[in-house]
Symmetry: C2
Subunit: 452 residues, 2 copies
């Protein structure tokens, strides 16, 4: 970690329908169809770009999550939605979550290359392996593949994808109209990848894009997840409740990156934060409490029980968590989030009802209610103390929470010299201060002309 | 086929980089990066919408086609590119080609549902099974699956997709904020599909879209292709060189539709046409000849040899095709196109060089060079004589060829009462005069609430 006046925060807007709080949709002003309304997202994108944020971020899973009854569920496919948002923005990055377990590398690498071309170099890929058996059932499987297998497949998926993105040299297109030569076939590579999970000949059918690769983002914090991040990630999203936990994760991951031979400064660590912002501290806490009152406890209890692999009857709303919880090893998905939630409940001796309130805003991400200055202070405190290179901003209510953050918190961070006042760069990778990847293939020695 | 004053043409703009003629990129005015330039496509989309055309159409295959040297190759992924074009248009339909052989139904059905939501009901899916072994090699296979297997998989793919699109009832979202009920879980269905190729639990994670299903389009004209079209297609793109061939195909397909129990009027048959338009007939033929002079014969000969499964040495540019060609049964992809090309060459006793010129404009689609009135006459002649319900317009050169068609030919068709003068409907399916599909699931009896 570097420090000093030149070090700048990175801030992403994590967009989720009417907000990250699970009861946000019940507020009078919330649009219950926002999750499928592109105009709602266009408005959010414009607000985030007004705030000069680094990127828009969209979560995803190829499954209908939980029961569709209790809150807005389902979502538009993120690479398409971000393509729509590229059309109404000029600078902000566009990070889509996509699964390595339920896609083919050729198709997905191509979609990200296409998004990068269409957006002029603003694409990012949040690489996930997709926890949960329900998704597996949509793809011909009877059960969730083991955690380790999913990460092994993910690593090979990245190997194939980067080969495909490098299969066109930057100077492959020569466009010599006189001779009738559009591209130099020696600069377009078959990749001939043969591995445990994939066999892909290539080349990609999209020339190398402005960023070469989308920004590579990763969000798993388990042992496998951290090792994957150390090898591949350029930004890591993480859920951390306390400064101490945040510092420990930050130090551990930067250390793994360095031990893997990469510069730790080229991996940005970005915890999630759910800011609940009001002009006074009291109003902020009232807003937080109002949202928590709108949670339906029986529904939230069932979700919590599913996470713990218990029956809902084994949880009592007004008691602490039972002793007989599984260990992280026994959980096949969202391992680190499981451990975080158990630690939070035990540390603060929360009843199930209280725990549900604490999780309602950000599903384990840190909720912080306060004035704009207090939110800015909270962000700076972690940034200055080795727990974060920036934050994934997860407004409890949208669009109002994003508007408050952009209009009230961002100016404070700008005044403190912690955040840009204008976009000074063009691509998402540049916003993050990262280099464009070099092409792994030498030009001319494995070209298509030789292979055909 | 119905006739009379109320019958209207359907016209799609088939967009392909700088034009359908393989040498179009060599013209001085052609942008050699147009195939990866979203602004080029935005311009085309605006021109097509100015002409009140039914839709934009994009071909696709998940493979780098042929050698990348001789003409612009590679293309942006169509569902993303059309999402970008949705942002600059309000009415025109958006038809993306996508393969049933190299996608998973859950992912693809979701992308089309998302495009339909984002575009307000303008999505269409050109369903292809993807000919060519090269694509198979990008997806872990050693060879192209057999033609019949690809169509069998396609049929099951459609079955799964339509179930997923119907998995949310139209009235599933109740948004009762007071009770905290967002959706009626009884109106969201697991589909529990188990078949030869797919096992998919569902439901889709996107609520039912404005059109329910994208417009279903099909382009294969082989025996398997025609049967598939008769069962599923609402629009059929086809390549036909002569009125007699066009009439025979039209009658055969409408008959298959009727025998399958569907109303033949609900399936629109749209041959491709490559119009080369100029103010005088002589100028039009000169433009056509100029383009053909820019073809590099040795390269085109190699492509033709690949199609015929011959070595390039077996073709002589100044002789007719050899006698020893394979039969359609021996061809595993693009069967009907193969037969069309052989028939064209034999009927007109073309040398290989002449055949290459005839194919240069539209790869087997009919090229027609003439004045705006002559092009309008050619279109009307097929429309009035039982060979077409409309056309897929494939300009040899873009954007100029689309501008000529929209500004010079469309007004003639409008004056004749054959084509709309304003968009009168909202969705693509409505532009085609087709109904929104009914939901195949009865409400309430297979809901998620019962399954969970």
């Amino acid at each position: 970690m570097t420090s000093g006046t030149s070090r700048r925060l990175h801030l992403n807007a994590f967009l989720m329908s009417v907000g990250h709080h699970e009861a946000a949709w019940r507020l009078p002003q919330s649009n219950p169809l926002a999750h499928i309304d592109v105009e709602h997202y266009r408005n959010l994108a414009r607000i985030a770009e007004r705030g000069k944020l680094d990127s828009l971020f969209l979560a995803d899973s190829p499954v209908q999550m939980g029961s569709p009854g209790r809150r807005p569920s389902g979502r538009l496919e993120p690479t398409l939605l971000l393509t729509a948002l590229a059309a109404v923005t000029d600078h902000i990055g566009l990070i889509a979550t996509a699964s390595t377990s339920y896609n083919e590398p050729y198709n997905l690498a191509r979609r990200f290359a296409s998004l990068d071309h269409i957006s002029g170099g603003r694409a990012g890929w949040n690489i996930v392996t997709t926890a949960g058996v329900e998704a597996a059932l949509n793809f011909g499987l009877d059960d969730l593949p083991a955690h380790r297998d999913r990460y092994e497949r993910a690593a090979e998926f990245l190997e194939v994808s980067t080969k495909l993105w490098d299969s066109w040299a930057d100077n492959a297109i020569v466009a010599d109209k006189e001779r009738g030569v559009h591209a130099d076939a020696d600069r377009v590579q078959v990749i001939d990848h043969v591995g445990k999970y994939f066999k892909v000949r290539g080349p990609l059918n999209v020339p190398r894009s402005p960023q070469a690769y989308p920004l590579l983002v990763q969000a798993g914090s388990s042992e496998d997840g951290r090792n994957f991040a150390a090898r591949w990630a350029e930004a890591v999203f993480t859920a951390q409740q306390t400064l101490e936990e945040g510092k420990a994760f930050y130090a551990d991951l930067k250390d793994r990156v360095a031990r893997g031979g990469r510069d730790p400064d080229t991996v940005k660590i970005l915890p999630g934060i759910v800011p609940v912002i009001a002009d006074t501290e009291r109003e902020a806490h009232e807003l937080d409490a109002e949202l928590n009152r709108l949670i339906i406890p029986e529904y939230a209890k069932r979700q919590l029980a599913e996470r713990f692999r218990l029956s809902p009857d084994e949880l009592d709303l007004d008691s602490e968590l039972p002793e007989n919880l599984p260990t992280e090893d026994e959980i096949e998905g969202a391992k680190s989030r499981f451990t975080l939630i158990v630690a939070l409940a035990r540390r603060e001796r929360l009843t199930v009802r209280q725990l549900i309130g604490r999780l309602g805003g950000g599903r384990g991400h840190r909720t912080f209610a306060g004035t704009p200055v207090q939110v800015a202070d909270a962000i700076q405190y972690w940034f200055d103390n080795g727990a974060a290179d920036g934050f994934n901003i997860m407004p409890a209510v949208l669009p109002s929470g994003l508007e408050s953050f952009v209009d009230k918190v961002v100016p404070i961070l700008q005044e403190r010299g912690l955040f840009r006042t204008e976009y000074e760069t063009t691509t998402l990778r540049q916003h993050y201060g990262l280099a464009r990847p070099a092409n792994q293939f030498a030009t001319g020695d494995r070209g298509l002309a030789a292979a055909l």
